[in-house]
Symmetry: C2
Subunit: 338 residues, 2 copies
């Protein structure tokens, strides 16, 4: 439908709102139908019964329970799924319909507050979670997953996935930039340029064709899920992008790769422009001006990323960059994903 949340009867805090918006099943349909995502998890779980056999598994943000059911099929002794959204009521019906309720227990609530029924100091062998948001960290549940790891995972336990890497490149995107950004210069003859300013600062989640990419990608951030701490999610990263052809640059482009390295044979997928479509698409950061680039030019810069102070699910992202070449250009833009 309209993508809007189901309004609650009473007051909603922004946290309640978040819990409720995911309750609408549309987002779950989109995630389930994302085969790159769902089949990667299935492969990582069901192709590794030696890891799951008789183990206790925790699924953080279990949604409709699909990962719980994969884990049960892989031989887990006990699977606990936690979600604060109302979708967990449907998950309960689904788990029963598939006769897996003797293995899977679903707990509704915030992970910080619920009782997982593990007893005092009870631990789990494996944590599975599909916590990734746009640009990896936007509206992500990673902080909750890290809490779960620190509180519940055995020292020799496994995180699935256990690796995430964020990448940056740059793209030629004149046509779409005109449609999304320059559109506001003349709206049926009227000057809407104040909206142009806002549009420019909001990263755009959309699919980008590989042929638009004009630089070799550079890694921005690598997360080892066994070790990363919440503080590491506020980061500053230098990058150096080498231009691969004479062209123009209208935007920087972000995406991420995910790995299940603990598997017998590592399972990996990418959300980059060279890969099959995922519902995460890519993230486009339009530059204020156009860069004229030549093959071999280098764009050096620094990206900083931090949760917004007022609403930690939003991201404040700054991009400072300098093109060194025939047309030296230097700029800095502050973006907000909200």
């Amino acid at each position: 439908m309209s993508g809007a949340a189901e309004p609650s009867a009473g007051n909603m805090t922004s946290k309640d709102y978040y819990a409720d918006s995911y309750a609408h099943f549309g987002i779950h349909e989109e995630m389930l139908k994302d085969e790159v995502r769902t089949l990667s998890y299935r492969q990582a779980i069901q192709n590794n019964p030696h890891l799951f056999k008789d183990k206790v598994v925790l699924d953080v943000g279990c949604g409709t329970g699909i990962l719980c059911m994969f884990a049960a099929k892989a031989g887990a002794k006990k699977v606990i799924g936690v979600d604060m959204s109302n979708i967990i009521d449907q998950a309960n019906v689904i788990v029963k319909a598939n006769r897996l309720d003797h293995i899977i227990t679903l707990v509704k609530g915030k992970l910080e507050e619920v009782d997982l029924g593990l007893g005092p100091n009870g631990k789990v062998d494996i944590i599975v979670s599909e916590w990734m948001g746009y640009f990896l960290l936007y509206e992500s549940m990673l902080d909750t997953v890290l809490l779960a790891r620190d509180k519940y995972l055995k020292p020799d336990g496994i995180m699935m996935p256990d690796s995430a890497t964020l990448y940056l490149s740059a793209i030629e995107d004149q046509e779409y930039k005109e449609e999304k950004i320059d559109f506001w210069d003349d709206v049926y003859g009227f000057d809407y340029s104040c909206i142009k300013e806002i549009a420019l600062r909001e990263p755009l989640v959309d699919t980008v064709e590989l042929r638009s990419v004009v630089c070799d990608p550079a890694p921005l951030l690598h997360l080892d899920l066994m070790k990363v701490r919440k503080e590491d999610l506020t980061f500053k990263s230098k990058f150096k992008l080498t231009v691969t052809r004479n062209d123009y640059v209208h935007a920087f482009l972000g995406w991420f790769d995910i790995g299940f390295e603990a598997c017998h044979k590592p399972v990996r997928f990418s959300t980059g422009p060279h890969s099959r479509y995922t519902h995460w698409k890519q993230t486009v950061f339009y530059t204020p001006g156009t860069l004229t680039v030549f093959e071999g030019d280098v764009i050096e810069g620094e990206l900083t990323c931090a949760p917004n102070a007022r609403n930690p699910r939003d991201l404040d992202i700054s991009l400072a960059y300098k093109l060194q070449g025939k047309n030296t250009t230097e700029a800095r833009m502050d973006y907000k994903m909200s």
Copy 2:
């Protein structure tokens, strides 16, 4: 971005949520770029300066102020735009940037509560409003527009638009029904049929190709905006659809037409499957079973539509129908647009 609302700092009631979700400019971009919509309003307003010259105009739900600016260009003496969303802050900047702030006054708040600065018993000559929602009435502002009419419009005043008609037909839609509904029967080998039940009851807003339509359309409801009362928006309507070819029926299809009949030359547009794309698309009501229909068969039925008691912006819609022909079928479904 994700289509989610911008969360507020404090508590949000569902009403606040509604106000805020429209504040995000994405929806305004979509509406402005809907040329069928925006050019129809422009034509109705700017091609009728004899109606607007030196008149006082009220725009209910003014958004970015585009209709206010059309009215000002058409010669209005004074234009008042009202909106409870934060987008009105941008509208103020836009109106100033276009040097129309000596004509246009924007008022932030709920129409029921704000002071329009018209003085005691002050009235307006024309009310313009783009109040239509999906299936005409879902999340529509029509009740507010009617309040504005009864409180502020001169007896000989004009409503723009002044006519709205809701239509129903039936479509062949096997492929997409399988993707949207039957998908839940087998999700990676698991039974998700409880979600299928929910999916079936939620009308789907999407574009339908004209070649999918297998019945002549029937009008369900006609609104004369000068006369309609809020109570009329809860309605029960009998329909009779004549099948135009041997085919199958997987869903009923709803859409609406809009008219500006008070114009020198009436301006009209349709959101039906025979017309150019609009952001309202069409509304699909999947039937529980498939109807096998023959040319000349008649599907008779009754549609009831009422605002949901708990959340009046949601719609409760019931469809009872009987196919009379070689394969007589009778059924009834309750839908909820939310």
